[in-house]
């Protein structure tokens, strides 16, 4: 059963135009965010506020005469508990940025109405999603570095201790599994349309298990394993271990990094599959529009 064929207009699928999809999505995202300067600046200060809470707590406890730092060193491995908190807060802000930027991206475009415009184009979804992710990675990575530097200045932390190169490696590779987690978030948000409070809560659960304010090794048995199954936990600890003396989970940095690598290879694929399945189910039911 065929119909007449009338060509495909200006559509021309080449590696160059395929790359063009990715590049255009990335570029459009960067242009749009550059038009929201206020929120960008807020974003940089969020982790500093997060870090300020436990740091102030620590300072006030210490003022009673007990050497908090000593105790801290026993449980965490480092006496520099300001740096510990700052790193935790910065990695958490990266996690929440990634889940927010990628996970809520679909939902946001659904609400504004642009999602269907994108979905009717012949652009492959992974190229579009790749563009959005590329943008999110750039933004999250930049935010981490800048917040960390500003925070160091404010809290009197030496940002250039330990092995910075390895720390950067941990952040960069750690971001990849986060990408996959974001897609699972995205799928969840597509399903449960009014998911804001649920997602907010999930972010805090994530914050708890990845050890923003404490080393996950202090968690009791079962909870510790839950925590260790979260890729962001490995990223946080990796950064801390390379900059401070908290120790890697498996003694050497390359073993920890290898485990993140495995996460990085598996989780995004899994996330993408979950996401595309949800999308298909949606198209079989209500569709991608806001109804």
């Amino acid at each position: 059963m065929g119909t007449a064929i009338a060509g495909l207009g200006l559509y021309k699928k080449t590696p160059r135009t395929s790359f063009g999809v990715f590049a255009s999505v990335l570029k459009a995202r960067l242009i749009i965010i550059s038009r929201y300067k206020g929120s960008l600046i807020m974003e940089l200060f969020m982790p500093i506020v997060f870090a300020a809470l436990p740091i102030m707590l620590g300072v006030s406890l210490a003022s009673g005469g007990t050497p908090v730092a000593e105790n801290w060193k026993i449980s965490s491995g480092t006496a520099d508990f300001r740096a510990f908190m700052l790193i935790g807060a910065c990695t958490f802000s990266v996690v929440s940025l990634m889940t927010w930027l990628v996970g809520f991206w679909v939902r946001r475009e659904m609400v504004t109405g642009t999602l269907e415009s994108v979905w009717v184009t012949p652009a492959k979804k992974y190229l579009v999603i790749g563009g959005v992710t590329g943008y999110a990675l750039i933004r999250a990575f930049t935010a981490f570095i800048i917040s960390f530097l500003i925070g160091s200045l404010i809290f009197g932390v030496n940002p250039f201790q330990g092995n910075i190169l390895i720390a950067v490696l941990f952040i960069m590779i750690g971001l990849l599994p986060l990408w996959g987690i974001s897609f699972m978030f995205g799928a969840l948000i597509l399903k449960v349309k009014e998911a804001n409070s649920l997602i907010n809560m999930l972010q805090w659960v994530l914050a708890f298990f990845m050890g923003v304010y404490f080393p996950v090794t202090v968690l009791p048995g079962f909870l510790r394993y839950v925590a260790l199954s979260f890729p962001p936990t490995w990223m946080t600890n990796g950064v801390r271990a390379s900059l401070l003396e908290v120790g890697y989970f498996f003694e050497h940095w390359y073993i920890d990094l290898a485990i993140i690598f495995v996460f990085a290879a598996v989780v995004p694929l899994l996330g993408y599959m979950v996401f595309m399945r949800t999308e298909k189910r949606l198209k079989k039911n209500q569709g991608m529009g806001l109804y």
Binding site: A6, G7, L10, T14
Partner: protein
Amino acid sequence: MPRAIIKVQNMSKTFISKERKKFLRPEKREIQALKSVDLDIYDGEIFGLLGPNGAGKTTLIKCLTTLLIPTEGTAWVNGFNLQKEENLVRASLGCMLMGERGLYWKLTGRENLEYFGALYHVPKEKRKERISYLTDLLNLQEFLDRTVETYSSGQKMIMAFAKSLVNDAPILFLDEPTVTMDVHAARELRRIVKELNREGHTIVYTTHQMFEADELCQRVAIIDRGEIIALGTPTQLKKSLKIQDVVNLEGVIPKGVAEKVKAIPGVKDAVIKDVKAGKSTLGVMCDNSRKLLPKIMEVLLENEVQIEYIQPQDITLEDVFIAKTGRALSVDTSEVPEEEKGGAGGRV
């Protein structure tokens, strides 16, 4: 024999929606938005889908543009199968589906066109050419480089229209494109649609306004409650009515009067078409209005109707719709209970 460029086969779409009437216990409700639609759209025509709000026009278009997966049935678009060759179907289409909402408001018009051009795999050099061509065609110069949020609603719609043309696809889907435009802009859009059609584009145009379908389309499908109830050229459709006259009476017309007028022998149908500021328009279809008018007036006077304006009128596509459904096009489908369906006007 014209060749079909879109072939729809036995297409059905059922939505299952949760109704939250009872607290914590949502009831499931099925809405059959499309019921076994079969349809051929010919290469090179302007094809109109005419029907009231809620008839299923958008659902049909969303199925044909791969945004929804039909519950049953399939279609071929530009030679490609809807389910098996999704991306080539998409590459064959230009779409204006949700009007201005399809644009990024924080990007300029040009940035939007660049972006969507890229998503349609239009090579970069071609994109530039195309944008400058569209700028001339649609007079975009004045606002092309401003962010869309600063546009008037007419400018947003024109930009959304430009977006649907950015890949110069052989088939264009326009879903109620003029709905928020002023009269002048709407006329201009229809002029361009005709011009694009002359260049060889096939255009599928949905509307709930009969005059648009009449003026623009070579063939029209009248759709109601997910079914195509009539199909043909506007002339054929109007001729199929087999009545001579329609008289429109405008004034203050209480409810229930239409039924009484309908009971007059020789009157085929009487329906309130339009209500504006307390004034209604009663459309009366009959074989010979000159003969029947005195009788109609008598019934109206008995019921204390104030008539301000009487106008005999040529048969329109709306009259075709009324004859088939007993309802006016302006009535939202969801406001009419399902039982009434087919109850009034006889089906041909």
